[in-house]
């Protein structure tokens, strides 16, 4: 089991955002989390990603109980096992695309030159080999999101967490980004959780979990391996 949550709840100022979520996600699964705004889907993603802690319950990631880890241990888990992709691309504006991609490796103590080499290789995969030296401010939204994906991939994560990764993009670019993510799963067999409002994106995953008012109201497995076909999006 890659991800397991045990009855997790999250309160903000006494207001419950998540109420007793139990979830099992296996290695290589491609899961969509859907639900209306404020339903708690992003909060669930944050708890699974170890960037927030549950008020109650436990989160297990690759057999690690995240709630038992210290802050620095959580940081290590994030930089070695989890790739994050967000709606706002969250790139560091003062460094170029290659350096942004290399940053998790540099933080992890990889030699700068080696980190940059690996970053270049991943930028090639996401099709940005010609923009490696560009700063985030000079890239289009789609290109910035590709850099963010490259940054998530460079650490060869076991899990990718994506929060509305196409939310700020036009349909065509969004489709390209999702195709890129699917290709990634195909190549790396990593687990992906995508929070999305877009039923088209959800329809191409293995499983759709629907959350409403902090509770799972539906958990539907879809036809397996649909995502492995790169042509799905073109339709």
């Amino acid at each position: 089991m890659t991800i397991r949550t045990e009855n997790i709840a999250k309160h903000y100022g006494g207001i419950p955002v998540l109420k007793g979520i139990n979830l099992n996600i296996t290695e290589g699964e491609y899961v969509a989390i859907m639900g209306p705004s404020g339903s708690g889907k992003s909060t669930l993603l944050h708890l699974i990603g170890g960037i927030d802690r549950p008020t109650e319950g436990r989160v297990w990631l690759q057999n690690h109980d995240l709630s038992a880890l210290t802050d620095d241990q959580l940081a290590t888990v994030r930089r070695r096992q989890i790739g994050f992709i967000f709606q706002i691309y969250n790139l560091i504006p003062v460094i170029n695309a290659r350096e942004n991609v290399a940053m998790p490796l540099i933080i992890d103590g990889v030699k700068r030159q080696d980190a940059l080499k690996r970053a270049t290789a991943v930028l090639n995969i996401v099709g940005l080999q010609d923009h490696a030296e560009a700063f985030p401010g000079k890239l289009s939204g789609g290109q910035q999101q590709r850099v963010a994906i490259a940054r998530a991939l460079v650490i060869e994560p076991s899990i990718i967490l994506a929060d509305e990764p196409t939310g700020a993009l036009d349909t065509r670019t969004g489709d390209e980004i999702m195709a890129l993510l699917r290709q990634t799963i195909h190549q790396t067999r990593c687990t992906i959780l995508v929070v999305t409002h877009d039923p088209r994106i959800a329809a191409r995953t293995d499983r759709i979990i629907t959350i409403r008012d902090g509770e799972i109201v539906d958990d539907t497995p879809l036809k397996r391996n649909a995502h492995l076909s790169g042509s799905v999006l073109t339709g």
């Binding site: 960037i51 802050d71 460094i95 350096e99 940053m103």
Partner: protein, 668 residues
């Protein structure tokens, strides 16, 4: 730290103004310290060499008070500069981290641990510290050359050769480097530690950081404690007085967020009257970002405080000098050891050279001498405290005049006669206060042989005040010699017969002592004080520059954070002028607050500085430098300060006004 070197460089390159500001903030202190530590030992070596080559110098190894005093003054100024620089860097880093909160949170999200964040900040600080220190060392080298030339030109050391600038001294280079880099690292350390607490979730919330109410409360309590400690140090603890300014400055900084919440609502109605269309929105912006506004107000406050403290110090020094020069007008000439020339004005009596006894006797025998009186200095203990003894000749004294006495047992004439005939002393007001003495009290004083002699208080002298650990008593030459073994004069007052030739007198002095024409000495002294005043104003202005850069810095960050809001305001029809005025009114709010608090803090710091240097200004007859209320300085600060602040804030104001509307609306 190496792994963050590149990212730190990129941040520095992105914010050139801020980097320049940090570098400047540290450069000045390092320059003064390194310059002083390079120039002064070179001058000391040159002086020792010169003394070894001449025959008239009696004591080659005597402590060199003039240089010691100059070193103490320059060191103090260097340390103040470094402290102010360090404080401004601390404030800047707090602001920088607020601006960079999103980036830091992002780094945390992709796996940076807390210590990685601290490393990133400290790497940047280290880089800036190294650049600032290197430039400070280069400037200090140039400053050392200028300082040596300046001191050489004053003629205080007439027999030395101007030392050549050769290889930097390691004992100057290493401590100055350590101080420069250390100050930046220490200043950045606390903001860096705070930055490690940034949650990764912050990266997902593109909202402005709010002032943490708890930290504002903690700041208020800690600030009140600091101000109370400062007040107590100023009022009660003479040894603690120099710390009073530091306590109060720290307290004011800590309390600034609370002061904003307290003062600005009261200022708002007046501002509404002056700026009806912009006052409320400017006020709202400040209150919403109280932490940031406090940084801006603190930058201004420190600028004002430094200016007022300098002005207070200069005014006190000026009044003291005038008193000193006027005091010496009791005679036409003054004879003093050449090495004491500077210290007679501004140093304590330790290590002072007395005049050669035979030489004094020969001077006394000259036919040109109409009248002469020596002033001698000794020491004793009373109730376990060290007391300075000042010996005068009551039969010849024109030094003490009737209006110098706060109380006396009989007439001035008679009281001087008693001083001559009996074991009697005049005490200073401070001595009377400290020991609870009144007229006709008897003091058991320890003599040179260790025995006790009893002296009666016959006068309380108002003119003579004394500093820390140097309480003074005045007695006759005869009793000073008999009981305390002091036989030699520290300096002589001399009146000559009219039309006398000075040649034979100069012949007797032979370079051992200086003959000072008191009138020209006074003139020279006053012009020296005026030059000194100008230098201090320039130095104060240099220290204020980083404060103004700090203002630009924090306002720019504030504008940057409000980019989207400004875009919305522009989109709904606000003109560029309106946006610009909002920033200017914000500056006005904060500069009024900064000015008022800065003036109050500056007065305490000034009093503190005066108290710190006062013991070194003790002379036998003129007392110590005393605090003077710097009325004109305050007026200048109140008028010029906010004006300069407003002019400075035009830079971020114009930046805000010229933001592209479409791009601003896209800003996250």
């Amino acid at each position: 730290m190496r792994r963050f070197f590149n990212l730190a460089l990129k941040y520095m390159a992105r914010r050139k103004l801020r980097t320049t500001f940090t570098v400047l903030a540290i450069l000045f202190g390092v320059m003064v310290m390194f310059g002083t530590w390079t120039a002064m030992p070179a001058l000391r070596d040159a002086k020792l060499l010169s003394a070894a080559q001449t025959t008239y110098s009696a004591d080659n190894t005597s402590s060199d008070n003039s240089l010691d005093l100059a070193v103490a003054l320059m060191n103090s100024f260097g340390m103040i500069s470094l402290f102010v620089g360090g404080f401004l860097i601390f404030n800047t880093y707090r602001a920088v981290l607020a601006e960079r909160q999103h980036d830091l949170a992002l780094l945390r999200m992709i796996g940076a641990a807390r210590h990685h964040i601290a490393q990133l900040i400290l790497t940047e600080a280290l880089l800036q510290g190294v650049v600032g220190t290197c430039l400070g060392l280069i400037s200090g080298w140039i400053f050392a050359g200028w300082l040596m030339r300046f001191i050489y030109d004053t003629g205080i050391f007439p027999n030395i050769d101007l030392p050549a600038m050769s290889v930097p001294r390691l004992d100057a280079l290493l401590p100055a480097t350590a101080l420069g880099i250390g100050t930046v690292l220490v200043s950045a350390y606390f903001p860096a530690r705070r930055a490690t607490t940034v949650s990764p979730l912050t990266a997902l919330r593109p909202t402005s950081p709010q002032m943490d109410r708890r930290s504002a409360r903690v700041g208020l309590v800690a600030g009140i404690v600091c101000v109370i400690l400062g007040g107590l140090a100023l009022v009660f603890g003479s040894l603690m007085v120099p710390l009073a300014g530091l306590f109060v400055l720290t307290g004011a900084v800590l309390m600034m967020p609370s002061a904003i919440a307290l003062v600005l609502p009261r200022l708002l109605p007046r501002m509404r009257h002056l700026f009806p269309r912009t006052a409320d929105i400017a006020y709202g912006n400040i209150m919403r970002q109280r932490g940031r506004a406090a940084v801006t107000a603190n930058s201004l406050m420190v600028g004002f405080a430094v200016f007022i403290a300098s002005v207070t110090m200069v005014d006190a020094m000026y009044a003291y000098m005038i008193r000193l020069f006027t005091f010496h007008m009791v005679a036409d000439y003054l004879i003093i050891d050449r090495d004491n020339m500077l210290t007679m004005i501004t140093s304590n009596m330790d290590g002072q050279k007395v005049l050669n006894r035979q030489m004094v006797a020969k001077i006394r025998a000259l036919t040109e001498v109409k009248s002469m009186m020596g002033v001698r200095v000794g020491a004793t203990t009373y109730q376990g405290k060290s007391l300075m003894l000042v010996g005068i000749d009551p039969t010849r004294s024109a030094v003490l005049r009737p209006n110098d006495f706060a109380a006396q047992s009989v007439s001035t004439e008679r009281v001087l006669q008693i001083l001559q005939e009996q074991r009697a002393v005049f005490v200073t007001l401070q001595v009377a206060k400290d020991f609870g003495l009144k007229l006709n009290d008897t003091l058991p004083l320890t003599t040179i042989t260790g025995s006790t002699q009893f002296y009666t208080v016959v006068g309380i002298v108002a003119d003579i005040t004394v500093g820390t650990g140097k309480l003074g008593l005045i007695l006759s030459h005869e009793h000073l010699r008999e009981d305390f073994g002091i036989r030699d004069d520290l300096f002589l007052y001399l009146n000559l017969q009219s039309g006398s030739n000075l040649d034979s007198l100069q012949q007797l002095l032979r370079g051992n002592a200086m003959l000072v024409d008191v009138k020209s000495f006074r003139q020279m002294g006053i012009s020296g004080v005026t030059d000194f005043t100008k230098s201090v104003y320039i130095l104060a202005a240099i220290v204020i520059i980083p404060a103004l850069l700090g203002l630009i810095n924090t306002l720019t960050i504030s504008v940057f954070e409000r980019t989207r809001e400004i875009g919305i305001m522009r989109a709904i029809g606000s003109g560029q002028g309106y946006v610009q005025r909002i920033v200017l009114v914000e500056t006005l709010f904060l500069s009024v607050l900064g000015a008022v608090v800065g003036i109050a803090v500056g007065l305490v710091c000034g009093a503190s500085l005066v108290a710190m240097f006062a013991p070194a200004t003790l002379t036998p007859m003129t007392g110590i430098m005393q605090f003077q209320f710097p009325g004109s300085g305050i007026l200048i600060a109140l008028i010029v300060g906010p004006t300069i602040a407003l002019l400075t804030s035009l830079i971020p104001a114009r930046r805000a006004a010229h933001l592209n509307i479409v791009e601003s609306l896209r800003f996250e």
